[in-house]
């Protein structure tokens, strides 16, 4: 597929107590975002405190895994030799998760087929011990 780099050269996140739920949820098909158990606000990037009410009763929760492309860019620059270009980098606004965006790649279509407002669904891709939440158009 033009424009999508699936090489193992992607930098991989180091797992820790804060980010493990997010990066490993894809193993069971779950997109997990931290949520405050007191005010129900969402917290991303995941941290052990709620940025809305300062509660520390926060926990990862499963969200819909669908969303809308808020904005995007088509990357043409080869930042390292093994990189396949062009590919789409997008910022996705998640359904039901107000105030949270994910930077991701839009896969499964030509780069010219992507636009702001397009509806997308998560598709996880395993890289070692993490599952990257990539998105494809619905």
């Amino acid at each position: 597929m033009a424009g999508y780099n699936s090489s193992s050269a992607r930098p991989s996140p180091r797992l820790d107590a804060d980010n493990r739920a997010f990066w490993t949820g894809g193993e069971v098909g779950e997109l997990r975002i931290h949520r405050c158990q007191d005010c129900q606000g969402y917290i991303h990037p995941p941290r052990p405190v709620c940025r809305h009410c300062l509660s520390d009763r926060v926990a990862p929760t499963v969200v819909a895994g669908t969303g809308v492309i808020d904005t995007f860019t088509v990357n043409y620059q080869k930042w390292f030799p093994a990189m396949d270009v062009p590919f789409v980098i997008a910022r996705v606004a998640l359904d039901g998760v107000p105030g949270v965006y994910l930077t991701t790649n839009i896969i499964g279509c030509e780069v010219d087929a992507v636009d702001i407002g397009d509806r997308v669904r998560v598709k996880f891709e395993q890289h070692g011990d993490v599952w990257l939440p990539l998105f494809e158009k619905i």
Binding site: P11, N75, I89, T104
Partner: protein, 389 residues
């Protein structure tokens, strides 16, 4: 004890080293070159300096990005400092000046050297001397971008630019005016890195880096040092140059994230700046606005109220308004796209140069009294309002 009025802060000496790529002169010596020029202009000696401020301090993991720390300069030049600071956790590059003003106004220092030294082109050319520390895993803020190969700030800035393209109809012809204006102004600046004209045809046929930003929308690694000396208002009898007052300052951190913030930080910063002064956007004689990527300058034009949000493309269309003889001369030294990636400090350096009438071939007409200098713009932003009283 009677309350005393805190002294105003002024930029007195300004200095700059040679500007180039793959320079071999030691980065500390480039810094000293800029210090010497600034001291000479201000009529100060190193013994009168009692503070040092820099951005972002020495960064061991990226030696070219910031090869000289504040403490290193203090020690190397024998400065008897009563205050110093250097760090990246501040509202972008000119935050180092904001910090110095705090020290001045609270009486902790009287003359502070603020500097930004960059050595990225030289460091990449000489990796044995300037090794980059490679890590096998990504962590912290970069983990939310680099696994998706969003590896450069250009891919993050491009997404804000794309929103302007789709929502407000920003065209490539409009955006090109930032790069074209920068390069036209750089021709008149003997220290500019790129001293070749750029045509609209060259711009439109350039390769894309990250849409809608092409090659000419991006600055490139540069080796240089820029110095600004910030002095206390009650120490101006010690300087021989025309002091330029720092009339207002504003800064914002918008979640220190390129994807969780609805807006770039410059928008809040621009609004805040005008809350802290009686001056208005219409009083500004020249704007020196961060343009590491061209779109940042356009966003700053909107943020500072020179036009409405979304109207930046129309404002710069044709380039006449932002030309040397336009209503808002922009980046008269060439900006970072023309003069080199001086990383934020070049904008304040040029604002002072213009307000003093020292611009030479690129001096704007009339007697400019008010200038804005801005750095950053994405998740971090700083704006300074500078006046010749």
């Amino acid at each position: 004890m009677a309350a005393t009025l805190a002294p105003q802060a002024y930029i007195t000496g300004v200095g700059q080293s040679e500007v180039g790529i793959k320079l071999t002169r030691h980065p500390l010596l480039l810094t000293v070159d800029a210090v010497r020029e600034a001291l000479g202009e201000a009529g100060l000696t190193i013994g009168q300096i009692d503070g040092v401020s820099t951005y972002p301090g020495r960064v061991a993991a990226m030696p070219g990005f910031s090869p000289v720390g504040a403490d290193e300069l203090v020690d190397a030049l024998g400065i008897r400092a009563t205050w110093y600071a250097g760090g990246g956790e501040i509202t972008s590059q000119l935050g180092a000046v904001v910090a110095a003003v705090g020290a001045i106004r609270s009486g902790q220092a009287r003359h502070v050297i603020c500097f930004r030294t960059v050595y990225e082109a030289a460091a990449i050319a000489r990796p044995d001397e300037y090794p980059v520390q490679r890590r096998d895993k990504t962590e912290g803020n970069s983990q939310w971008f680099s696994p998706f190969n969003a590896l450069s700030a250009v891919t993050w800035t491009a997404q804000y630019a794309m929103r302007h393209v789709k929502k407000y109809g920003l065209t490539r012809e409009q955006l090109a005016q930032i790069a074209l204006t920068d390069r036209a102004h750089a021709l008149l600046n003997p220290r500019a890195l790129v001293r070749e004209p750029l045509t609209i045809d060259q711009y439109l046929s350039a390769r894309m880096i990250s849409s809608p930003l092409c090659l000419y929308d991006c600055d490139r690694f540069t080796d240089a040092s820029t110095v600004l000396i910030v002095s206390a208002g009650d120490a101006l009898d010690e300087v021989s140059c025309t002091p330029i007052r720092i009339a207002a300052m504003a800064g914002t951190v918008e979640r220190l994230s390129w994807d969780q913030a609805e807006w770039m930080a410059c928008y809040a910063t621009g609004k805040d700046l005008w809350k802290r002064t009686d001056y208005k956007p219409s009083d500004v004689d020249t704007a020196q606005l961060y343009d590491g990527f061209s779109f940042q300058a356009l966003a700053w034009i909107e943020s500072l109220g020179f036009c409405g949000v979304g109207e930046g493309g129309k404002f710069i269309e044709g380039g006449r308004r932002i030309a040397l003889d336009g209503e808002l001369p922009l980046n008269t030294f060439g900006g970072q796209l023309g003069a080199g990636r001086l990383h934020g400090f070049g904008f304040a350096h040029e604002a002072v140069t213009q307000l003093r009438g020292n611009g030479g071939a690129r001096q704007i007409k009339g007697e400019p009294r008010v200038a804005v200098a801005a750095s950053g713009g994405g998740p971090l932003a700083t704006a300074l309002l500078l006046t010749r009283d």
